[in-house]
Symmetry: C3
Subunit: 167 residues, 3 copies
Amino acid sequence: MENPNQKSVELMDSKTLLLFSDDLDRALAAFVIANGAAAMDSQVTIFFAFWGLNVLRKQEGSAVRKDLLSKMFGWMMPRGADRLKLSKMHMFGMGTSMMKFVMKKKNVQVLGNLISSARQAGVRFVACSMSMDVMGITKEELMDHVEVGGVATFLGAADQSNMTLFI
Amino acid sequence: MENPNQKSVELMDSKTLLLFSDDLDRALAAFVIANGAAAMDSQVTIFFAFWGLNVLRKQEGSAVRKDLLSKMFGWMMPRGADRLKLSKMHMFGMGTSMMKFVMKKKNVQVLGNLISSARQAGVRFVACSMSMDVMGITKEELMDHVEVGGVATFLGAADQSNMTLFI
Amino acid sequence: MENPNQKSVELMDSKTLLLFSDDLDRALAAFVIANGAAAMDSQVTIFFAFWGLNVLRKQEGSAVRKDLLSKMFGWMMPRGADRLKLSKMHMFGMGTSMMKFVMKKKNVQVLGNLISSARQAGVRFVACSMSMDVMGITKEELMDHVEVGGVATFLGAADQSNMTLFI
């Protein structure tokens, strides 16, 4: 009990996912893993950094005032889970649509559902503050009830995890 | 000994690799790491998900009956280790061939050999069942003696590992 | 004290990053994490493999004699932190420049500074020997005071870490 490392060992089965990408396939992987781990009673944190922030964006634009560069980033990047593309075989939308169609047909949950399930299961969503700053994305433009945090928040979660993935 | 976390600490030096990609360079990295860890007496599990499944595909087609979409995915994706491409500088095959040529010349093991070595060293190969389902890939089309498992299998392996990489 | 696993538990808060990519965004992520962890008193190792080696390359060419293939790889790959490109939205340089401009404006440290900070904070830089061999890159062409090591060096560092990321 006097072991100073005891605490970290006890908390050791949390999971932290750094979702860096906004590829549909990688976002799917992250949320399948997050939901699986939550179902096995692990505490899960997803840290959305850089392109990964786009997964959290609301579909409808918001009335936030921005400078030109932030606006340009905003236009060029996908807005939310329904707009993501496959990292390969996107083929001007055909591959991505095909994949979505097949997933629906085979009763595999689509990304939107996986995100809702994760929220309901208590998965913690943290948006990277530095990425928001660089890309000019404000909290209003993101899904509700998302935490904002920096690299220390990410590392704090990782320190309590026995698995941290960069996705 | 009564410490309930003892077990996980003891098993802690297993390694789990989630191979998500079918880029030649990333597959090489995964197998170099797997062989290295196995040589250092770690238990290694490679979980092949999404595009990573293609690394396990047999080169020759099999007589499996499929619906049209599964057939299309099958045609468009590379069949097995010898057909993979570099993630960068593929240059219509030239870059990939150059890389393979250099590796041969410098006596670096090619991917096919690394896969055989891994199998002989007892590395566990698990094909992701959900990915197989979505892409319409059956067990017959994969390398022999591959396990099929879901996210729980992956997380179970990760829980016994002190290193889990998403590649 | 007699616990044979004590040692690994004690050292457990080191961090190991395998930087496989030479995308500007991923290199930035790696160095933000490395600097953050170093600031929180973790021992950090960055293992530069494959394309990741390019982050360590000196900008000026060196007088090293090479065979033709090594020369070709050398020409085609970016030389050092200032020449890296975004993984997405590079747009013939425009996107990458825009990102750099915004980072400067918002006082986010650019990659070159992050690399210097990491060195000063004692982050360990290891260049992958096998990748150097395959790509024909010599130690002279890399930043000074970089260690050269193989997969065993990487796995040794990972075994003392509670977080190992493949970036």
